[in-house]
């Protein structure tokens, strides 16, 4: 049979693999990163897969060539990394914001991902990828054009191809369309939202003769039109690609009146040449190449019966940085896994692949949905980035990272600052992990419907988050200590967490309207607007959610938040007050921090207990625990360690907010007290002066004294637990009293458990 004969002739490196028509299970159209990843992961699982591409490899492709850490880790998993040879390593991203200078974003160090990216020319990358798929057992036909989908009873059952000038039909239970941004197959299936005329476009060239390139990729945003009056929905990039060489390009989100992509590129190059010495002598190597861009990912449009769509064809490109390779690799892998799960060997009917859509939604929702909206409303996003570009408050650093590193956000906010305390919780008898995951799901679900971007607030889905020390944990443990079957524990925990996120958002509001960075008076402060609005929104959702647990629960939350507000107000009002007594400081802590620890304990106990003494005991526990935590935090900061809950409890000598150790030193520090006082009276403290301050305070013994006071409160918390029924939950709560002061989690959970339980 003709088909059988010709099937394997193009397959690279593996002439022995002959794919018979009988076991052809999946046809993958397009051998870019998405297609090759799909084919590789299917072949790995022993599936019969045929990879088609209209070109022959190696071939060139217009792209920025940038690989993020998550792309690098996906390539490593496929065994492709070592085949790439010498590649330019990248330490992070440098963003040039128009008129605001630049900012560096280094790739974070985290457990399950390398801390570097790469720049690899697509010619090399794509060739290595499809070779790898073939080596794993996939067949590949090059120079094969796919013209049409074949349908049977409303399901895709194959494709019509043109190969060696002849047309023919190929059949398989599943077709994967990985045919790029201008995907013919996705369009044929009616799954593309953007009309061809509205599609974005990118163009690039390789330039040599550059001097002083670093190991950072560079993004320039936004670009202006030639008249310098209109902001264009666009960005420019410079990605170092070896000594003196860079991949330089521009992307335009959608066709915008009056300017072509080539003009925009010319203008960008000219600006680089004129304004940046590194580019004075740059020369083009080869020619410019362009490619369409699509940002219209939607989970409901990434599949049809018998067909999945992956990579650029699904519109999976970041509308903020143009990045698409990691999404292509990842969606290819997800597609392969979904097919492998649902396609029984020998099955001829169309399998149900709907879990692919669900997985894609979970993985990318928020980022792309918001991106898609924002691609149209790029002005707002840029106004926000621009207004807060140099602002270090938590909301804005989170926002910047959310925009620039969708895959890394969860690591950065807020769970990265929370310790994994799982060894303290123990494994017996408590379902903390499952319940915390359920809390996370509610959080996600609650914000996603109204404001998808916020979905990125929740912790990263990648890797095991362990059991972070967070309000939900306290609430659950308090709840388990009573009747743990209480159904509202989880929604109450989610409500409390939303409330705290709201407090955090509101804390990003800046005192002065000009933001302290010289933005013109009279100009909108987009940062404050976003912080207030977001905080209000989260607060309203927290209240809505708390109603599931009843009026009393929502009243408890409201009252705790107003007490925390009062504490913050008093703290701000007492800023720079050197005469503040330690007792006054403790009062503030009792309102500001202890209320937030008391609430989850009280609420958890209230929801699961009928005994008011039990509720009161746990409320006292939480209150004392909170004071101990805050005092330890103050002490740790001066001992030179990073504070844990960050802005929620951080004291800030620079802003005139003094922790207990500083006040202690001022009153009892004898000779040093004068120095401390003199330093604190200065207008602005330099980094060195702050270090001197810390040293002076430490030398007075204030840090040790503060730790001692913290331990006293921890003991009180411990004491309060006596009124709580014994059990696994009480043991865990009890262990947390030591943790809040020492901030040490033992390494060996099993040993710990053996001794403690």
């Amino acid at each position: 049979m003709d088909l059988l004969d010709s099937l394997s002739c193009d397959s690279l490196n593996s002439p022995s693999h002959v794919q018979s028509e009988m076991n052809l299970e999946v046809i993958v159209v397009g051998a870019g990163p998405a297609g090759s990843s799909t084919a590789y992961h299917l072949a790995q699982r022993g599936r019969g897969v045929l990879l088609l591409d209209q070109q022959s490899f190696p071939r060139d492709k217009a792209c920025g060539d940038g690989l993020t850490p998550s792309a690098v880790s996906l390539l490593a998993e496929m065994g492709v990394l070592e085949k790439l040879g010498e590649a330019q390593k990248i330490r992070g991203l440098r963003v040039f914001m128009r008129g605001k200078g630049s900012r560096d974003f280094e790739y974070p160090v985290c457990r399950d991902q390398p801390d570097y990216g790469l720049v690899v020319p697509r010619k090399k990358l794509d060739h290595a990828l499809c070779q790898r798929a073939v080596a794993a057992g996939a067949d590949m036909w090059e120079r094969t054009r796919v013209t049409d989908l074949l349908w049977t009873d409303g399901a895709v059952t194959g494709v019509r191809i043109v190969r060696r000038g002849r047309q023919r039909e190929l059949h398989a239970p599943v077709v994967v369309a990985a045919d790029g941004a201008s995907s013919r197959l996705a369009r044929q299936a009616g799954l593309v939202e953007t009309s061809p005329g509205a599609q974005g476009y990118a163009i690039r060239g390789y330039y040599t003769g550059l001097e002083g390139l670093t190991d950072m990729t560079e993004i320039y945003m936004p670009l202006m039109d030639p008249s310098d009056r209109y902001l264009l929905p666009s960005y420019g990039w410079v990605f170092p690609a070896g000594p003196g060489c860079a991949n330089v390009g521009v992307g335009l989100f959608h066709r915008s009146g009056g300017i072509t992509i080539r003009d925009l590129f010319e203008q960008f190059l000219e600006a680089l040449r004129e304004q940046d010495l590194r580019f004075r002598d740059m020369r083009l190597r080869g020619t410019w190449q362009g490619a369409p861009l699509r940002f219209d990912f939607a989970p409901e449009r990434c599949m049809a019966p018998g067909m999945l769509i992956a990579g650029d064809a699904a519109g999976l490109v970041s509308p903020f940085t143009g990045e698409g390779i990691s999404y292509a690799l990842e969606s290819g892998k997800l597609a392969a896994e979904a097919i492998d799960r649902n396609l029984r060997p020998g099955m001829e009917e169309t399998p149900d692949l709907s879990d692919y859509g669900i997985l894609m939604e979970q993985q990318y929702t928020g980022y792309f949905e918001a991106g898609r909206r924002s691609a149209r409303r790029y002005l707002l996003v840029w106004h926000l980035l621009d207004s807060t570009f140099h602002n270090e408050r938590p909301l804005y650093s989170w926002c910047r990272r959310a925009v620039l590193f969708p895959e890394g956000v969860g690591e950065a906010f807020p769970s990265a600052v929370l310790d994994d305390v799982s060894p303290l919780i123990g494994r017996r008898g408590l379902r903390v992990r499952e319940d915390l995951l359920a809390v996370g799901e509610i959080l996600l679900d609650t914000v996603r419907r109204d404001w998808p971007f916020l979905a990125r607030l929740s912790a990263s889905r990648r890797g095991d988050p362990g059991i972070p020390f967070r309000p939900a944990l306290l609430l659950l443990l308090a709840g388990y200590s009573g009747d743990p079957r209480q159904p509202h524990l989880i929604s109450a925990a989610a409500a409390v967490e939303l409330g705290y996120l709201a407090v955090l958002a509101h804390m990003s509001v800046e005192g002065s309207s000009d933001g302290g960075h010289g933005s013109d008076k009279g100009q909108a402060n987009w940062g404050n607007m976003a912080a207030v609005m977001l905080g209000d929104f989260l607060l309203s959702k927290a209240h809505e959610l708390s109603l599931r647990a009843g009026c009393t629960a929502s009243k408890m939350i409201a009252e705790a938040l107003t007490r925390a507000c009062e504490g913050q107000v008093r703290e701000l009002l007492s800023a720079h007050n050197l005469e503040q007594t330690e007792a006054e400081r403790l009062d503030i802590i009792a309102l500001k921090t202890a209320s937030l620890f008391e609430l989850p304990c009280r609420l958890g106990a209230y929801l699961s207990s009928v005994c008011s003494a039990h509720v009161a005991a746990l409320a006292t526990y939480g209150h004392q625990l909170g004071i101990a935590f805050q005092l330890a935090d103050d002490a740790l900061e001066l001992a030179g360690q990073k504070s844990q809950l960050g802005p929620l409890v951080r004291t800030d000598s620079k802003a005139g907010i003094y922790g207990l150790p500083v006040l202690w030193a001022l009153r009892r520090g004898k000779a040093s007290a004068r120095h401390v006082r003199a330093l604190l009276c200065r207008d602005k403290l330099t980094k060195e002066e702050l270090q001197t301050l810390s040293r002076l305070v430490r030398e007075t013994g204030a840090v040790d004294a503060t730790f001692e006071i913290a331990r006293e409160y921890a003991r009180r918390a411990q004491g309060a637990l006596e009124a709580v029924p014994a059990g696994a939950a009480r043991s865990a709560l009890s262990r947390l009293t030591e943790y809040v002061v020492s901030r040490k989690v033992p390494d060996s959970p099993d040993l710990m458990e053996a001794f403690m339980q």
Binding site: R377, H506, C551, T562, C565, E566
Partner: protein, 337 residues
């Protein structure tokens, strides 16, 4: 972003008190301030001062009055009614504190705004504090009022987020725009109607009528304000609209001109697409809008909503409550005359 509704109503309330023709409600309102002050339980004197600042400056308590009137048959002295009315007023005040921070507003109710007096951080906290107190007050009234309240605050916030998300969106449709106004502005008129009707024990039909009334009333107020801002004296004309243009927030008259295929429409699009709006460009943009039919059309639409608000009341019993509501709808659009 400028909450136009608030500005308009606040400044004209002084003359607007006459709509209320229920003597019992007027009498009950006199006790409201006591309830409001009792709700601010902070031990810190300075926080109490900040939180009570706007309440002390007065205002005609339009929303609490609306709540008491909507309750109709109940005795306005019912402590539950006053408590709900206080919660609504606190929520309204909370939004004012936060709006003024966002808008960098210099003044409110005839004196320096809270953010000017104490700074943005404290003003934000004071607003949040008021919101928390409103929640706590409401949560004592049971599940249904609590749910109404929570729905309203979610609507308010999503309306504002939608507005921000659509900043600089030159092709925002009229339906989308009105949808935002319903959440952002009309919500604070619907909420007192719902709470009043629930606590007053009204029938589901009357309840639905009052909710309709509140929504149309809110729209009438907002649209009339947007039109009036562009129709006043030349020196004051377009002050709010101008600020909003700079920040990419477009009122209905602006959106109407923007979607026209006329020379004026095209010119306005070109002006507003610019990254920075000069004062000449701004003046030109305002002229284009003012000279169009859009201002008159917006006022007509405001009138239509006021009439629909009145029609919603058809099934309600006659009496001073209904008469007050009729007059309030009238007042929403006649403020300029």
């Amino acid at each position: 972003l400028v909450l136009i509704q608030v500005r308009g109503i606040e400044t004209t309330e002084g003359r607007g008190g006459e709509w209320l023709v229920c003597p019992t409600v007027r009498a009950a309102l006199a006790d409201l301030d006591v309830v409001l002050k009792r709700a601010i339980v902070a031990t810190d004197a300075q926080l109490r001062e900040m939180a009570l600042q706007l309440i002390r400056r007065g205002g005609k308590r339009l929303r609490p009055a609306l709540l008491l009137v909507a309750a109709q048959r109940a005795t306005p002295e019912d402590p539950r009614l006053l408590q709900a009315a206080a919660a609504v007023e606190l929520l309204h005040n909370a939004t004012l504190y936060h709006d003024d921070v966002m808008d960098r507003a210099p003044s409110r109710r005839g004196a320096a705004s809270v953010n000017v007096l104490w700074g943005n951080e404290l003003a934000t906290l004071a607003g949040t504090y008021l919101f928390g107190r409103a929640c706590a007050l409401l949560s004592e009234l049971g599940d249904v009022p609590n749910q109404c309240f929570s729905q309203a605050s979610v609507d308010l916030c999503t309306g504002q987020l939608l507005e921000m998300e659509n900043a600089f969106n030159l092709s925002l449709t009229e339906d989308e725009h009105l949808g935002i106004l319903i959440r952002k502005t009309a919500t604070l008129f619907v909420l007192p109607c719902r709470l009043g009707s629930y606590l007053g024990g009204l029938s589901p039909i009357d309840d639905a009528a009052l909710v309709d009334y509140g929504r149309h009333l809110g729209l009438a107020f907002q649209l009339a304000d947007d039109a009036l801002d562009l129709a006043g004296e030349a020196s004051q004309m377009g002050k709010a609209t101008g600020t909003d243009l700079r920040e990419g927030v477009y009122s209905l008259p602006v959106l109407r001109v923007l979607c026209q295929e006329t020379p004026a429409g095209k010119e306005l699009n070109a002006l507003l697409r610019q990254a920075c709006l000069s004062s000449e460009d701004m003046q030109r943009a305002l002229d284009l809008i003012r000279r169009s039919e859009a201002v008159a059309e917006t006022l007509t639409l405001a009138r239509a909503h006021a009439e629909q608000a009145q029609e919603s009341l058809d099934g309600l019993p006659h009496g001073s409550a209904r008469q007050s509501l009729m007059r309030l709808a009238e007042f929403a659009i006649t403020r300029a005359e």
